[in-house]
């Protein structure tokens, strides 16, 4: 009699999804399906809209990572109008962008991932949340995190309007400049961010790396996936979130491709399966080879670990040191250990914070020259940024009146969709053995999934109290065999 486990809805992530786990007669995992259950059609209803409205509409794709959509959109407009933003405008945009990245990355770490390590992956679920973390490391930390988040979002609001839905950004520049008064509090925020990122890395070291059990978990094969990696780098192959070329490296570290975002269609393919609304990206030139990680694989990953795998180094000194340490500990580059995403995420936050400092101290930041008005409308505009969760591409085509005629979006989490399915499957196979389904297995499976921060570093304080999770085990006729409750 086959068994089936449905986890629905998936919680503590952006978007709506469910996981179906199928067990064989022995109770071992036969197959796992991670299904995304929603679709909205942005690529179609943006057609007919004036293109300068798109940076205002696109952030509605995701209220947790709206800034990357806003930024990719603005860059697509720069491209469409053949205009280079002024140096000051570029600084302002990157200040906005880095402030968002710091906030988003730190939030994911503290709210979603740190509980698993600070409190423990199989600890009592009631304590496995931010409150449990705070109890272990101190209330002050919770306060500091709220403060950093508030300050970073104040920068976003000041430059681009509402942090959950920034609407600023114009082709060739930004709509509003920065004053010297602004610079003062922004610089203060940047300094605080650098400090807090360093503290967070220290915490990670203390709690995870210095703890043999957790370090083994990070290096455990169940959480390992051999794939290609994609990320954006500058001319020195250093990680750059805002601009650069897209680089792909293979599972053994060799460079597979280095291309301008205009050529993305040659490299990225989107495969369609009938059981999920999300399209499964893969390397087009290799072709779809299914959900596998053997030598024929065409799967690649994006996001923090992928970016560090792809880059030869970081843009800023403190982050660079951490980068070197990480690969030394993990023992290889590229590192395939999925849980190392959490580590890489903190290193990225540090780079973003250091970059914020650099910009906040740049004399050009307060220049009044914030708009390049030499706009020449072309037919196609493509903008690419590294969103918190991975490479993000906005591709627009417009008519002679500047109305969108065609829109194609490659969204960060899509790149990871197939690898997520695979990671969940592997973890499920490792931790579910035999007919007795262990209560703790759910979280170990979720950890495989959570590491990717799939399109949502849930920006919230996970509140104390019950965290019930109900697993219904059904037979092949759908009758309920057993219910496991975790509360």
């Amino acid at each position: 009699m086959s068994k089936r486990i449905t986890i629905n809805p998936l919680t503590r992530l952006e978007g709506h999804g469910k996981i179906e786990v199928f067990l064989d007669d022995k109770g071992d995992v036969r197959d796992v399906y991670w299904q995304v259950v929603e679709l909205r059609g942005f690529e179609r209803f943006c057609i007919g809209r004036p293109v300068e409205e798109l940076p205002r509409i696109m952030p509605n794709i995701c209220g947790v990572c709206p800034t990357p959509h806003n930024m990719a959109s603005v860059k697509a407009l720069d491209d469409l109008y053949g205009v280079e933003p002024t140096p000051a405008a570029k600084l302002i945009r990157q200040l906005h962008y880095n402030a968002f990245l710091v906030e988003d990355h730190l939030l994911h770490f503290y709210i979603l991932s740190s509980p698993d390590f600070v409190v423990g992956p199989t600890a009592d679920p009631a304590e496995r949340n931010i409150v449990g973390v705070v109890q272990k490391v101190g209330l002050e930390i919770g306060g500091k995190m709220i403060d950093v988040r508030r300050r970073c979002r104040a920068i976003v609001r000041h430059i681009a309007s509402k942090p959950a839905h920034p609407e600023g950004g114009l082709p060739g520049g930004v709509s509003m400049g920065i004053s010297e008064d602004d610079r003062r509090w922004m610089r203060e925020t940047a300094d605080l961010c650098v400090q807090f990122c360093q503290f967070s890395l220290q915490l990670f070291r203390q709690v995870v790396l210095d703890n043999k059990e957790y370090l083994n978990l990070v290096l455990n094969d169940a959480y390992k996936l051999d794939t290609y990696y994609m990320g954006q780098v500058d001319e020195n192959n250093r990680l750059n979130f805002y601009e650069g070329k897209i680089r792909i490296v293979g599972p053994k570290g060799e460079e597979y491709a280095l291309f301008d975002c205009h050529d993305y269609v040659d490299y990225i393919g989107e495969w369609v399966e009938p059981w999920t609304y999300i399209r499964l990206t893969h390397l087009k030139k290799i072709g779809w080879k299914g959900l596998n990680e053997d030598e024929t694989t065409s799967l690649y990953r994006v996001g923090p670990l992928a970016r560090l795998n792809v880059a030869d180094g970081m843009l800023t000194p403190l982050a660079q040191k951490e980068f070197e340490t990480m690969f030394a500990v993990l023992g290889s580059k590229p590192a395939h250990h999925t849980l190392a995403y959490h580590w890489a995420r903190l290193i990225e936050a540090l780079q973003a914070a250091e970059h914020m400092q650099r910009i906040a101290n740049d004399p050009l930041l307060t220049s009044k020259d914030i708009r390049n008005m030499d706009l020449r409308l072309g037919k196609v505009g493509i903008g690419c940024v590294e969103a918190a969760r991975g490479t993000l591409i906005h591709h627009y085509e417009a008519d002679v009146d500047g109305r969108a005629t065609k829109v194609n979006l490659i969204v960060a989490t899509q790149h990871n969709a197939a690898p997520i399915c695979l990671s969940v499957k592997k973890a499920a196979r490792e931790f579910i053995k035999g007919p007795q389904v262990r209560e703790g297995f759910l979280n170990m499976v979720e950890m495989a999934f959570r590491a990717y921060d799939p399109c949502l570093g849930c920006a919230t304080h996970a509140l104390p109290g019950q965290m019930p999770l109900i697993v219904n085990i059904r037979d092949s006729e759908g009758s309920l065999l057993r219910t496991i409750q975790r509360s």
Binding site: T11, R12, V37, R40, E270, A459, H461, P464, L469
Partner: protein, 319 residues
């Protein structure tokens, strides 16, 4: 008597409304201490089954964000209506349909064909399309059914209160939450935001001439807008006069015009229609040719007028 139960749920939502709830920062912890949150999928692990087991009306307030455009969203909306005393439609999507409501200008088939067949990166030799039910290896996998259009929340269930905005600003969230918890609320059906138009509190209002009269409509990226002067007086489309106040001028403050995320002012149903009269009144055009010329410069009327509001507009609303 236990703490009042509160559910915070998202339907067709981007998550921005949940972010804005978190933006009330330390106040959230106080609120959390005063209530019993029984559902918050983005943050907590309660599943729908636990809500299904509750008694009708057991939840004091359900804060619902997002529009409805699939079968699961409809199901959850109806479930929460049954189990809750009060439903608060939270954010532009729940109140009016939101930006994704623009999809009502296209069809489900058009969306599916692009996403799964025609987009340049799609590789789909077998012509797969997501199915509501699909058998794989002897098991059936299901997906919620994707509807042909987007609905605001009140087209699906009765709504007690509205809080518009994309997203609602934290200070209004605080007022709404404390109003609900202290039972200090206006009549059912009210919108928990100021009644008047954005122009009422806009700093640029002082710069408005007695009579605005424009001969050209300008697009924001083609000009360097004066940050102190009324956008309409500069010929730039700004929906301030037809939009409810309360957002804190987040867009005006970075020198871009209003796009109407707070919806219509008190007493008005369709702000897009009202705004047409506003635009007409500021156009300096008498002859037929003049009118045709200048009206054609407003190149996307439905997009400007109804960016957040299409499903709730006169032509689209139910009934």
């Amino acid at each position: 008597m236990g703490k009042p139960k509160v559910a915070i749920c998202w339907l067709g939502s981007c998550g921005g409304c949940d972010e804005t709830i978190v933006d009330i920062n330390e106040v959230l912890l106080r609120v959390a201490g005063a209530v019993d949150i029984v559902l918050w999928p983005v943050a907590m692990d309660f599943k729908y089954d636990s809500v299904k087991r509750m008694k009708n009306g057991e939840i004091a307030v359900s804060v619902v964000s997002g529009h409805v455009r699939n079968s699961e969203q409809e199901e959850i909306a109806k479930l929460l209506r049954k189990k809750s005393q009060l439903i608060l439609a939270f954010g532009a999507c729940a109140c009016f349909g939101g930006t994704p409501g623009l999809a009502n200008l296209t069809t489900k088939t058009d969306i599916l064909n692009w996403v799964y067949r025609d987009a340049p990166t799609v590789v789909n030799p077998d012509g797969n399309y997501p199915q509501a039910a699909f058998r794989v290896n002897g098991e059936e996998l299901t997906l919620p059914e994707f509807y042909g259009r987007v609905f605001p929340l009140n087209a699906i269930i009765d709504v007690d209160y509205y809080l518009p905005g994309c997203p609602p600003p934290p200070y209004l969230v605080m007022y709404a939450l404390s109003g609900m918890l202290e039972n200090k609320l206006p009549a059912r059906g009210s919108t928990l935001a100021p009644h008047r138009a954005l122009c009422d509190s806009c700093k640029r209002n002082k710069s408005k001439p007695d009579r605005i009269s424009i001969r050209e409509i300008k697009r924001i990226h083609e000009v360097e807008a004066d940050p102190d002067v009324c956008f309409l007086a500069q010929g730039i489309i700004c929906l301030g006069p037809a939009t409810r106040d309360g957002c804190g001028e987040s867009c005006m403050n970075i020198n871009i015009p209003c796009r109407g995320c707070f919806g219509p002012v008190e007493g008005v149903e369709d702000s897009g229609a009202k705004f047409i009269s506003t635009v007409a009144s500021i156009l300096d055009a008498e002859s037929d040719e003049e009118v045709v010329r200048i009206v054609s410069q407003m190149i996307d009327p439905v997009g400007y007028l109804y960016r957040f509001l299409l499903p709730a507009s006169i032509l689209q609303k139910k009934g």
